[in-house]
Amino acid sequence: MSVAETSAAPMAPALKVLAEMSPVREKDIIPLLQRLQDQYGYLPREVILEVAARAGLPASRIYGVATFYAQFRLKPGGRHTVRCCRGTACHVRGGKKVAEAARSFLGVEEGETTPDMRFTFETVACLGTCFLSPVMMVGNDYYGRMTGSRVKSILQQYP
């Protein structure tokens, strides 16, 4: 992840969240970043700089936190996040094939977004639905007992 030059994001949503969570203290950085990412789908550069300013911390500190945790994105993501589970139970029951089918259908690597901004593809270490392995999530929808051949028809449902 780099200090991305994305096109300037509108600041209004960020300012609203910051107002609700003022004063910005160091210990509240992570919940703050989580709420900001909820607004934008990622953490725009200007937003991170604003958080740093409000918290009285160097921007590198905020970037250090944002890049440490897997949840935070510094680039805009797709409308739907496809998460293929690569946890133990899913691995043992063929999760790799499901992930490969998704990768092949979407045409992007892990962590990337399709050019039409429709899907972001991720793999997760465990979704906690191990009894239904292998599992795939699209947004907040869970799909259990997946096979590679079901991936296409499921993803085609999402606009």
Partner: protein
């Protein structure tokens, strides 16, 4: 619903009464799991149920309640009907009408939906094996209450323990009770909870924090998720009691962001608890104040480690800190902080309500109480399981879990996730608790229990876990950051077929270094999966490195087509199946013969390891590979044609034994241009194929076809020519020797009476008939043993005129090593199986057998191989009359000619696993004389490998015929998904089998064969497509 503050014990009791009354309004409740089952349509099911009940005007009598995990997740979506407690699984919206009509109106179960029906109808949840073998204490309310309605939990007793404590007990009393109960942290390390609380209480300062660690990051663990989503108040109440005990006024629930439902339910629970005055200022009017904030993790496994968790709460990167100071001294913001796991808190209200003595009565002395396991992987009943500490893996995986799907073999259970270890079959009967598990090299862990079967590669599992911990390593300390990277590199190389000598030792050294010098638990435990897999499955590592072989056929770089890889002779299975489907049978036979000359023979007697690995089994059933091989052999038009012109020149190789190993070696040497001489002591060639396997399984004409094919390549066969000493062969001028004399004698019983007339070596019995001497057969024949030789002897005896044939085996039918089809047919033909009996002595009169005395056995605990040890039952002797006893309990290697060659402790010939070379450099050995008794294909494969090694030794390249890709057929997308059952070969009707040795199995018809071959998924093409 508007909540009002509860001001004391009385108030709480009356709220409870009111809630119970509210439930009584309904004569029935339909509880639908809305946690995990959401993934299988529970939301829609709930909506439809409510709609239909309203339409049927039953909505005032029947309540639909959205509850938490009901446990048997494999049958999602789950639905429980009270008051009968009928548990339904796999419920679809289309089933709702029937449930309303039959169950809600008539009170009867809908049989096809019963979650427990595996042949038996057990509609009530408490009767299903899955549930009745559990002890749901911590999970008692999970699945019975709507987690978003606090009154439901209060109705079932929530907050009664907290109320008792806050209004009448001193904090130190509470700590003492918890300490005396023996409760140990359920997060994985098992640290005594009471001790931690004491330390927190005693720490200096008034500002203290209590944290619930709900960052359940172990892949495969979902216990905490289920508890938080299904019964959050159990956890909050535990926290309330804990906070009171240690003197904390602030608490956190730190939960993974990947658990949105848990976050939602905990949030709702907190709101409602506050509204009821059960959280916040002056709780229950008792003067104690405590509130809880929910914080979400941001996707870092390391934040499950307590010091990293605290760092995360403080807004930092989640990197651990050196300890001391421990969090109880200096934690969050430098203040004393007590961190406990979700399940640990869930246990606390029970201990307070029912007392320490009750708690201690459950579990083992060192590990009291219950443990919740998340059972997943290769097991039938995946789901949430709660058992007392001290339960065994056998109880959890087989009694509760329902065993391994598709009758596959259990291999190991992974406990403790990436920090844990694998527990092999020999410990299936170990009473699991914190200490016993540690002794065998694993850890109890948080409760994730992944079941692995024979199709799981243990090296791949180690690699998988290390990949995970490597990517989650925070990077702060060198041993973890660099050490796990280095270990992962080695494992990736091994799985890619690029392992090197010394890799295993390097892994062991690195593992110890990383374990001992890492800063936190992540690094300290990351090597565990590697260490336990090396400890218990070292051969798998060695096979990957030395033989480029993955016995589970799971490592794709080594085994693109699992069937071909599983075949000991590496026959190109998918290729020849495609050729059969294209009706190019001679080409199919040609493909097989590049690796195995015994096409007709194997088409009848091979034990098809390929079918055990066939990926089609995941869709419907494995391909009938053996039957298709037979079909190709029987219908090929030019079966006799040799592969190559006969080899010429002086024979430099001597082969001792014309069994499958010896003849295969001769054949492959001939293909490499080398002549050999095969010495056979018996008058006919074939070894066990001729002298052991009866004709009803393998007709003589069939065997002859394949032997003649081999001899056509320039192989000289000298029957009736025993070899007494290998030195004689060297004198004759042979430069290399392949010893393949097999294991021709049956192992002795070593019991009194073995010398009586009528006791005969079972292999001798089979051999006599094969050599044209009709053996004397008794009236009542007792065969002792459970392998193929025993079944062969039994079925032969039936045909030779025995009135009664008994098969006596010391374990159960499930454990018999003989092929299942053989056992089935033996019983169909009239043999009687007596399981769990062992011979004590043979009784005779006038020197002849008249009876056999047996002891009954019971199955004890697992031995080193994982099979349950048969244990004699004292005083259970009984006698069966018989006049012939055929022991078939094992074979003895025929190593008489092996002078100057090292033997193993089991008196088999010692040969190198890769080259088959013995201690004498010019002598190679394979087949049963090395293995002590293996399958035909294993013998054939050893002959093939020996030929390669011998050719190289004599200056050649050791090149087998090249692989070919003649087939044109590719499966279509539809074919890859369509379910199509496997065909079965017909058997000769029973009446036609009496008194003769006619072949039992009839081959497939051309139409069946073509259809069956078409089911192949062509796994070998995945790369090339």
């Amino acid at each position: 619903m508007a909540y009002s503050r509860i001001c004391g014990l009385q108030d709480l009791a009356s709220v409870r009464e009111k809630a119970l009354d509210a439930h009584k309004r309904f004569r029935s409740r339909v509880l639908i799991c809305m946690t995990g089952c959401r993934a299988m349509g529970a939301v829609e099911l709930c909506r439809v149920f409510r709609e239909k009940l309203a339409a049927a005007r039953l909505d005032r009598e029947v309540a639909v309640v959205e509850v938490g995990c009901l446990g048997q997740c494999a049958r999602a979506p789950l639905l429980l009907v009270e008051p009968q407690d009928f548990l339904y699984g796999g419920v679809r919206p289309e089933d709702v009408d029937e449930i309303i009509g039959r169950t809600l109106r008539e009170g009867k179960p809908v049989e096809r939906l019963c979650a427990g029906s595996n042949g038996q109808l057990t509609p009530a949840m408490g009767d299903i094996p899955f549930s009745k073998n559990q002890r749901r204490e911590v999970l008692a309310n999970c699945g019975r209450v709507d987690p978003r309605r606090i009154e439901d939990s209060i109705a079932r007793g929530a907050y009664a323990a907290a109320a008792k404590v806050l209004t009448g007990r001193k904090p130190q009393e509470v700590i003492d009770e918890v300490t005396a109960s023996g409760l140990r942290g359920r997060g994985g390390a098992g640290f005594p909870t009471g001790l931690k609380w004491n330390l927190a209480r005693k720490a200096a300062g008034t500002e203290k924090y209590l944290i619930c660690n709900a960052d359940e990051g172990d892949p495969g663990a979902f216990m905490d998720r289920a508890l938080l989503e299904g019964d959050p108040h159990a956890v909050l109440e535990g926290m309330l009691i804990g906070a009171y005990a240690i003197g904390a006024s602030h608490g956190f629930v730190y939960v993974r962001a990947e658990y949105p439902i848990a976050v939602e339910h905990v949030g709702i629970a907190l709101e409602q608890a506050r509204a009821c005055g059960l959280l916040g200022e002056n709780i229950l009017g008792a003067g104690f104040s405590f509130d809880i904030e929910v914080r979400m993790g941001a996707g870092a496994f390391v934040c499950g480690e307590e010091s990293a968790l605290i760092a995360s709460l403080e807004g930092h990167r989640g990197m651990p800190r050196p300890r001391p100071p421990f969090p109880v001294q200096s934690g969050y913001l430098g203040k004393p902080t007590c961190i406990n796991n979700v399940e640990t808190f869930g246990n606390v209200p029970l201990i307070i309500q029912k007392g320490k003595d009750w708690y201690r009565s459950i579990g083992t002395p060192g590990s009291t109480g219950t443990k919740i396991f998340a059972l997943a992987g290769k097991v039938n009943n995946t789901g949430l399981v709660e058992v007392p500490m001290g339960a065994t893996l056998r109880q959890i995986i087989f009694d509760i879990g329902g065993g391994i799907p598709k009758n596959r073999r259990f291999k190991a259970a992974q406990m403790g996730g990436p920090s844990g270890g694998c527990v092999p079959a020999q410990y299936l009967d170990l009473a699991l608790d914190y200490d016993s598990v540690k002794k065998i090299g694993a850890i109890m862990g948080s409760g994730g229990l992944i079941v692995l079967d024979e199709n799981t590669c243990m090296v791949d599992i180690a690699r998988f876990f290390l990949e995970f911990t490597q990517s989650e390593s925070c990077g702060k300390c060198v041993p973890c950051r660099v050490g796990t990277r280095h270990m992962l590199d080695i494992l990736q190389r091994i799985c890619a077929g690029e392992g090197r000598e010394g890799d295993i030792e390097a892994l062991e050294r690195l593992a110890l270094d990383v374990k001992q010098s890492s800063l936190c638990g992540l690094g300290q435990t990351a090597p565990n999966p590697v260490l336990t897999t090396i400890r218990y499955f070292r051969e798998e590592y060695e096979e990957h490195i030395r033989l480029r072989h993955c016995r589970a056929s799971a490592c794709e770089a080594l085994a693109p087509a699992p069937c071909a890889h599983a075949c000991p002779a590496a026959v190109n299975v998918p290729e020849y199946l495609a050729l059969v489907a294209e009706d190019r049978l001679d080409d199919a036979v040609n493909v097989i013969r590049r690796r195995n000359p015994f096409v007709s023979v194997c088409g009848r007697v091979c034990d098809h390891p390929c079918e055990r690995r066939c990926r089609r089994a995941e869709l419907d059933e494995p391909l009938a590979v053996r039957a298709l091989k037979r079909f190709a052999a029987d219908h090929a038009r030019k079966y006799e044609a040799a592969l190559l012109p006969p080899a010429k020149g002086k024979a430099q190789v001597a082969i001792v034994g014309a069994g499958p190993a010896g003849l295969s070696c001769a054949y492959f040497l001939a293909l490499m241009g080398r002549r050999s001489v095969v010495f056979e002591s018996q008058p006919i060639p074939g070894g066990m194929l001729a002298l052991g396997i009866p004709e009803y399984r393998l007709p003589k004409t069939i065997l002859r076809k394949d032997i003649e094919f081999i001899l056509r390549h320039g192989v000289e066969l000298r029957t009736g020519t025993p070899v007494r000493d290998l030195a004689d062969l060297r004198k004759e001028g042979f430069k290399a020797i392949f010893l393949a004399t097999g294991a021709q004698k049956a192992a002795m019983l070593r019991i009194p009476g073995e010398e009586f007339e009528g006791v005969q070596d079972s292999l001798e019995f089979l051999r006599a008939r094969a050599l044209g001497r009709t053996p004397r057969c008794g009236e009542v024949v007792a065969v002792i043993g459970g392998g193929n030789a025993a079944i062969d002897a039994a079925r032969s005896a039936l045909r030779l005129g025995a009135r009664k044939v008994l098969i006596l085996y010391r374990r159960t039918r499930e454990e018999m090593p003989a092929y299942a089809e053989e056992i089935e047919e033996a019983l169909n033909e009239g043999a009687e199986l007596h399981a769990l009996v062992a011979p004590k002595q043979i009784l005779g009169e006038s020197g002849k057998v008249v009876a056999i005395e047996l002891l009954r056995m019971r199955l004890g605990e697992a031995d080193a191989s994982g099979r349950r040890r048969p244990v004699p039952i004292e005083g259970s002797e009984f006698v069966i009359e018989c006049d012939m006893v055929l022991p078939a309990i094992g074979q003895v290697a025929s190593a008489e000619a092996a002078h100057g060659v090292e033997l193993t402790a089991a008196k088999t010939v010692r040969a190198d696993m890769a080259t088959l070379q013995t201690s004498a450099p010019d002598v190679f050995a394979g087949g049963d004389v090395v293995s002590g008794g293996g399958s035909a294909i294993e013998a054939i494969a050893s002959g093939q490998r020996a030929a390669v090694a011998i050719d190289r030794r004599l200056g050649g390249k050791g090149a087998l015929p090249p692989e070919v890709n003649y087939s044109l057929r590719r499966p279509t997308e539809e074919e890859l998904e369509k379910i199509a059952p496997r065909v079965a070969e017909e058997l000769l009707p029973l009446e036609e089998r009496r008194g003769n040795f006619r072949e039992i199995v009839r081959g497939l018809s051309p139409a069946s064969a073509c259809a069956e071959a078409g089911r192949c998924l062509r796994c070998d093409l995945e790369r090339r497509m």
